[in-house]
C-alpha cells in the first residue's frame, strides 16, 4: 500500500492536534491530583467516550475484524454479552463505592475495604498487566505498519510512543482523556466508511447471509452445541466465562476504564459514564466486526473476468498456508480506500493505538505513584514531589511498554494472549470486589487468600488442559476445542475458587466493625437518588433504556 502526500498531510494534522491538546491542557496541571486524576472535573460526555476509547486499542480493531472473518457475527458477543451487561452493573451498583469512597485508584479502594497486602498484590499485578497490554498494542501497530506500509518496525514503535508520551506528559490524565474522545471520533470516521463500502459491495447484510455459512451470520442460533459454531464454544462457557467472569472482571475492576469514570465531575456523572458509554459501544460491532464478515463474502464473489474480488490474506506457518486474519482490516482498506480517505483510515488506526496506549500509561502512572511509590517507597512527601514522580513514571511507563512490545514478538494471536493474561489476573478479582462490596462479612485475609487461590486456580487450569495442541505442562486432564474456550474456563475456575476461598476464610477470621465500612459496602452506604433530574440524567432509567436496546440487537442477529 502506498500513501500519497495528502495521506501524510492528514496524519501530520492529527499529530499536531493531539500534541496541541496536550499543550493547551498543560496549565491545568498544578498538583499530583490534576495530573493523575484530572482533578475530578471532566464533563460526562467526555468521560463516557473516553471510557470506550481507552479500551478500543489497535489490537482491538485488528483483532475484532480478524475475529469477524474467522467467527462471523458471533464476535459481537464480545460487545453485547461481554461488555454491555458489565458496564451497566458497574455504573449502577459499583460506581457509588468507587466514587463515594474517595479512593484515588482501584487498588486504593481495596486498601480501604480490605488491607495493605490486598492492595499491594493488586497494584503490582495491575502495573505489570498494563505495561504488557500497552506493549501488545505497540507491537501490533509496529508490525502492521511494517507489513502494510513498509515502515521500519523500530522507528514506528518509537515515534508513536514518543507522541503519546508528549501529550500525556504535558497534560496528564486530562490530556489522555480529551485526546481519547478525538481519537474515538477519528476511529469511527476512519472505519465506518469501510464497513459501509465493504457491506454494500457484498450485497448488504442479506448478500452476506447468502454467501456465508449460516453459523457465521447468527449470534445465538448455533450456540447449543460447541461443534456447530465456528468458535467451538458451548452456551455455558460463553455466558459464564465471557459474559460473566471475564467481562465483569474487566469492566468493573480494571482501573484503566474505572479511572475514566472516576475523573467525572460528580457522583451522578461518574455513574452515568459507563451507562452512556454503552450506547456507542453496542453499535461498534458494525464498525469494527462487520468489515471482517463482509471480507469473507467478498472473497467468494467474482468480477466480470471471473477473478475473485478479494482474497483473504494468508501466511505460511510451519510450512502450511493458513489464514492471516490480522491482516483483514488493512487489506480491506487497500481494496476500498483511495488516497485521502486512506489517510483518514490509517490515522484512525494510529488513533486507536494511541488511545489504548495512553489509557494504559495513565492508569499505570496513577497506580505506581499512589499505590506503590507513595505507599512503599516514600510516604509523606509534599504533593509537588508526587507530581514529579507521576511525570517521571510516564516516561518510565512508555519505556517499559516499548520493552514489552519486543517481548510480544514471540506470541502470535494477540486477542488470545490478552484473554490469557486477563484470565490469570482479572478473573479472580471480580469475586473479591463482588464480595467486598456486597457482603460486609468479607475480611481482608479472606480477600487476599481468595485472590491468591484464584490466580493459582487459573494457572492450574491452564497447566492441566490442552487446547489447539498447546498447554498441558503439568499433565492433561481435559482437552478444549479452542484456546478461546480454554480461556473462558480458566476464568470460570479462577472466579469460583476465589469466591469459595474468600467466603471460607472470611468466616473463620475476625470481621471489621460496621462503622469502618461506611461508604465501602452495600447496605452501609447511602446512595443518593437524583429524583429531580430528567430520566436520561438518572442512572436507573438510563440502564433500562440501554438494556432494551441491547436485547433488541441480540434478537435481531440471533
Amino acid at each position: 500500500m502506498k500513501l500519497a502526500v495528502v495521506d501524510y498531510v492528514i496524519l501530520a494534522t492529527y499529530f499536531a492536534f493531539v500534541i496541541g491538546i496536550g499543550w493547551m491542557l498543560r496549565k491545568r496541571v498544578s498538583t499530583s491530583g490534576d495530573f493523575l486524576l484530572s482533578g475530578r472535573s471532566v464533563p460526562v460526555w467526555i468521560t463516557s467516550l473516553a471510557f470506550i476509547a481507552a479500551n478500543l486499542g489497535a489490537q482491538e480493531l485488528i483483532g475484532m475484524s480478524a475475529s469477524g472473518a474467522k467467527y462471523g457475527i458471533m464476535t459481537a458477543h464480545f460487545y453485547w454479552l461481554g461488555a454491555i451487561p458489565a458496564m451497566l452493573f458497574m455504573g449502577i451498583f459499583m460506581m457509588p463505592f468507587y466514587y463515594g469512597s474517595k479512593a484515588r485508584s482501584v487498588p486504593e479502594f481495596l486498601k480501604m475495604r480490605f488491607d495493605e497486602k490486598t492492595r499491594g498484590y493488586n497494584a503490582i499485578t495491575f502495573a505489570v498487566m498494563t505495561i504488557f497490554s500497552s506493549g501488545i498494542s505497540m507491537y501490533a501497530l509496529g508490525l502492521l505498519l511494517h507489513l502494510v506500509l513498509g515502515w521500519d518496525f523500530n522507528a514506528s514503535v518509537v515515534a508513536s510512543a514518543a507522541i503519546v508520551l508528549a501529550y500525556t506528559y504535558l497534560g496528564g490524565l486530562t490530556s489522555a482523556i480529551y485526546n481519547e474522545v478525538l481519537q474515538f471520533f477519528l476511529i469511527v470516521a476512519g472505519f465506518a466508511p469501510l464497513a459501509i463500502l465493504a457491506c454494500a459491495k457484498a450485497g448488504g447484510w442479506s448478500g452476506i447471509q447468502s454467501r456465508l455459512p449460516a453459523n457465521m451470520t447468527h449470534t445465538w442460533k448455533y450456540m447449543g452445541d460447541a461443534s456447530q459454531n465456528p468458535m467451538g464454544v458451548e452456551l455455558f462457557g460463553m455466558v459464564a466465562g465471557l459474559g460473566f467472569v471475564l467481562s465483569f472482571g474487566y469492566w468493573c475492576t480494571n482501573f484503566l476504564v474505572v479511572q475514566r469514570a472516576m475523573a467525572a465531575d460528580s457522583m451522578s456523572a461518574a455513574r452515568r459514564t459507563p451507562l452512556i458509554g454503552t450506547i456507542p459501544k453496542m453499535f461498534l460491532p458494525f464498525v469494527v466486526i462487520l468489515p471482517g464478515i463482509a471480507a469473507v463474502a467478498l472473497a467468494k464473489m467474482t468480477g466480470v473476468g471471473g477473478e475473485h474480488l478479494y482474497n483473504l490474506p494468508t501466511k505460511i506457518s510451519n510450512g502450511v498456508v493458513v489464514g492471516d486474519y490480522d491482516q483483514v482490516l488493512t487489506t480491506l482498506m487497500k481494496s476500498f480506500y483511495p488516497a485521502g480517505i486512506l489517510g483518514v483510515g490509517l490515522t484512525g488506526l494510529m488513533a486507536s493505538f494511541m488511545s489504548g496506549m495512553a489509557g494504559n500509561v495513565t492508569a499505570f502512572n496513577t497506580v505506581f505513584t499512589y499505590d506503590i511509590y507513595q505507599s512503599y517507597i516514600r510516604k509523606g512527601a509534599p504533593d509537588s514531589h508526587y507530581l514529579k514522580v507521576g511525570r517521571m513514571t510516564t516516561i518510565v511507563g512508555v519505556a517499559l511498554s516499548i520493552a514489552a512490545a519486543y517481548v510480544c514478538q514471540y506470541y502470535n494471536n494477540i486477542m488470545d494472549l490478552l484473554q490469557f493474561v486477563f484470565g490469570f489476573v482479572n478473573a479472580p478479582l471480580f469475586a473479591t470486589f463482588l464480595l467486598g462490596m456486597f457482603w460486609k462479612r468479607a475480611t481482608a485475609h479472606g480477600a487476599f487468600s481468595g485472590l491468591i487461590g484464584g490466580t493459582l486456580a487459573a494457572a492450574a487450569t491452564w497447566g492441566l488442559t490442552v487446547a489447539e495442541g498447546k498447554g498441558g505442562v503439568f499433565g492433561v486432564v481435559h482437552t478444549f476445542s479452542s484456546v478461546m474456550v480454554q480461556n473462558f474456563w480458566i476464568a470460570i475456575c479462577a472466579f469460583s475458587t476465589c469466591f469459595v476461598v474468600t467466603v471460607v476464610v472470611s468466616m473463620v477470621t475476625a470481621p471489621r466493625a460496621d462503622k469502618e465500612l461506611e461508604g465501602l459496602v452495600y447496605g452501609l452506604t447511602k446512595i443518593k437518588h437524583d429524583e429531580g433530574a430528567k430520566w436520561y440524567q438518572r442512572p436507573a432509567p438510563l440502564a433500562i433504556f440501554v438494556s432494551v436496546l441491547v436485547i433488541v440487537l441480540n434478537i435481531w442477529f440471533a
Binding site: I21, V181, F185, A189, K201, L298, Y310, G340
Partner: protein, 64 residues
C-alpha cells in the same frame, strides 16, 4: 478548554481536505470502490465539524 472546539476544527480541516479532493480529483478510486468516497466522507466530516463548533459556540454564549 472546550474540547468541542479543537475536535470541531480538526474535522472541519479533514472534511475540507477530503471534499476538495472529491471535487478536484473525482476519479480517484480503489480497486473495489465504485463511488466518490472522498467527497461523501468529506462532506460528512465537514458537517460533523460544523456541528461540534456550533455546539461549542452555543455553550460559550450561555455561560459567561
Amino acid at each position: 478548554m472546550d474540547l468541542r472546539v479543537p475536535s470541531g476544527l480538526f474535522f472541519a480541516i479533514l472534511g475540507a481536505i477530503l471534499t476538495g479532493l472529491g471535487i478536484f480529483a473525482p476519479g480517484m478510486r480503489a480497486p473495489l470502490t465504485d463511488v466518490n468516497i472522498n467527497l461523501y466522507a468529506g462532506l460528512c466530516m465537514l458537517a460533523f465539524g460544523a456541528f461540534l463548533l456550533l455546539m461549542a459556540r452555543r455553550a460559550s454564549g450561555t455561560k459567561p
